[in-house]
């Protein structure tokens, strides 16, 4: 039995400008105990898929189950085995940290949960904030509080929708250590993130969504292997020649170009030389998940007339 199973899930929203298809026949399974990454650009349908899984939205067609329990027909039972960290930074301003966790435990019928609540607070670095009102917490603390609230009932399946947005580097480490520990203890983890190096480091398998469709689904190491193996990276003050611009990943002055072998690297540099441009700080590195991601997204862009 898979931990999570998506079967031909489609979702169409009715908007003022007509129907919008957010998900188009998404099917895949996540095994029990897996650390699974769901990636995709903004608007790809990641959050819609998670909302359907969590029972916040209904699928237009298809079915979703958690630990073999249908999220639509047995909604209450499905929610008991699921812990969801929502993407929006929400909180209840009336209560302090401990009260919020005690109430959340109560909703899941968990009695006398103080020992586990203390452990959660300790693991997430919130122990000294237990009696602080939610309003007094910083953004990063509120984010970790969302994680704590999702875990009060020790769910076998944990879903994290952008859990590290706005959390500083050190606390991201703390958070991942804790989630990795839960994963080792047997909890299944489904993660969406925009920090691709986190996904690369943590996830055993990855699915990539684009325009509501699964465009890649494989083990993380296989995805990395299949991509162009090297990247040529340099700094440039001028605009890139059009021949290279189409393939490049540009961040300010930094240009990164996929290259399979030495010949292709030479060819790239030749184009620069012919254009009379001088590349600085030239280096060659192994392709990472971000390169794979851009490759996949680029390959799945419909050819539009400009």
């Amino acid at each position: 039995m898979p931990a999570i199973s998506f079967q031909s899930v489609s979702k169409t929203f009715q908007t003022a400008r007509g129907p919008f298809q957010a998900l188009d026949g998404v099917s895949f399974d996540i095994k029990q105990g897996e650390f699974f990454g769901l990636l995709g650009p903004n608007g790809a349908g990641k959050t819609t898929l998670i909302s359907i899984l969590a029972g916040l939205t209904k699928a237009t067609s298809g079915s979703v189950s958690v630990m073999g329990i249908d999220v639509n027909t047995q909604a209450a039972d499905a929610r008991r085995v699921l812990g969801v960290v929502p993407q929006e930074l929400v909180f209840d301003p009336f209560f302090n940290v401990r009260e919020a966790l005690q109430f959340q435990s109560g909703y899941f019928d968990v009695k006398n949960n103080d020992a586990w609540i203390d452990e959660l607070l300790d693991s997430l670095g919130l122990s000294d904030k237990a009696n602080h009102n939610m309003r007094q917490l910083s953004g990063g603390m509120k984010r970790r509080m969302l994680v704590a609230q999702a875990l009060v009932h020790k769910p076998p399946v944990i879903v994290l929708d952008e859990p590290t947005a706005g959390v500083d580097v050190e606390l991201r480490q703390t958070l991942w250590q804790f989630i990795a520990k839960l994963n080792k203890l047997g909890h299944t983890v489904l993660l969406t993130t925009h920090y691709l190096e986190e996904a690369e480091a943590l996830c055993q398998r990855i699915a990539m969504l684009k325009n509501g469709k699964v465009v890649a689904l494989d083990r993380t190491d296989e995805l990395l292997k299949a991509a162009s193996s090297n990247v040529l990276r340099f700094k440039l003050d001028a605009a890139l020649p059009p021949a290279l611009a189409a393939k490049a990943r540009v961040t300010g002055r930094i240009v990164q170009l996929p290259a399979h072998d030495a010949l292709e690297i030479e060819r790239h540099l030749a184009v620069l030389r012919e254009a009379g441009l001088n590349a600085e700080d030239v280096e060659i590195r192994k392709a990472d998940l971000e390169d794979v991601f851009l490759d996949v997204m680029h390959a799945n862009t419909p050819q539009e007339t400009v």
Binding site: D77, V90, D92, F94, Q104, G106, Y107, A150
Partner: protein, 259 residues
């Protein structure tokens, strides 16, 4: 506490933590009504034989506070949670629509009753010296008073839940409160006996369920009322069932809270 009781307790604690504003403020408002209207109208308005106007006004003000605050509790809690987004913490739980219904409605009853008791005590203190009242403040039939306070508060709590689910912005909620709840409570006979109205407006008042709640509640105090308490109980009971059915249905289908 677990299940719906956890949500009930959370909802009670929510208003209690800001009790100055959720209980204290409406008590003060009612005392002001009593001081002004009681003082100005005591010798000018005849209601029931042997019942002074101030004594007549007190149960009306108490019940009006019970109803308005029961409505305010469930409606403001729901609309705030929706707008702040923290309703998601409830949406992710296995709590059933019945749990939601009972937790929100009963916590609204608690708020309504707390404010009602506050108004009763405060007004009693203010009219203590007034010898004309001679203990008529004590309900003669407390069970009737309690039954109407409870069913009325439940109905307004359920109605607040419906309004909270429906409203997407605070101004929509304010419109509901100002254009539906306020006129219906003010035109329900809080400040007058409907026998003093022209025929036409008497007939109109009989279509307002709030009238029966106030009238029934007042029967508990004086043992006399504009209509039979049994008729009032029937009207209030049926209204409560209808509104509860709508509220439970909206929660079941996740009206405006599950996409």
């Amino acid at each position: 506490m677990t299940g719906w009781r956890a949500l009930f307790y959370k909802e009670v604690l929510r208003f209690w933590k800001v009790g100055f504003q959720t209980v204290g403020a409406p008590v003060l408002t009612s005392v002001l009504y009593l001081l002004i209207f009681g003082h100005v109208l005591e010798d000018h308005v005849k209601v029931y034989d042997g019942v002074g106007y101030t004594a007549f006004l007190i149960p009306g003000l108490v019940m009006m506070s019970v109803l308005q605050n029961a409505f305010a509790n469930s409606s403001s809690s729901m609309v705030q949670s929706k707008i702040m987004g923290n309703l998601v913490f409830l949406l992710l739980t296995p709590l059933s629509h019945w749990s939601w219904f009972f937790a929100y409605t009963l916590s609204a009853v608690v708020r309504g009753m707390a404010v009602g008791m506050g108004v009763l005590l405060a007004t009693a203190l203010f009219v203590w010296q007034s010898s004309a009242l001679n203990f008529s403040l004590l309900p003669q039939q407390p069970l009737w008073a309690l039954v109407f306070a409870f069913t009325g508060a439940s109905m307004l709590g359920a109605l607040g839940l419906i309004a909270g689910l429906w409203a997407e912005k605070f101004d929509q909620m304010a419109a509901f409160q100002n254009f539906v709840i306020m006129p219906m409570t003010f035109l329900s006979g809080v400040f007058y006996s409907i026998h003093s109205l022209p025929d036409f407006w008497q007939q109109v008042s009989h279509l307002n369920p709030f009238f029966y709640m106030i009238d029934g509640f007042r029967y508990g105090f004086f043992g006399q009322s504009d209509v039979s308490p049994w008729l009032s109980l029937g009207v209030v009971g049926v209204s409560l069932l209808l509104i509860s059915a709508v509220a439970v249905h909206l929660l079941r289908i996740g009206f405006k809270i599950r996409g």
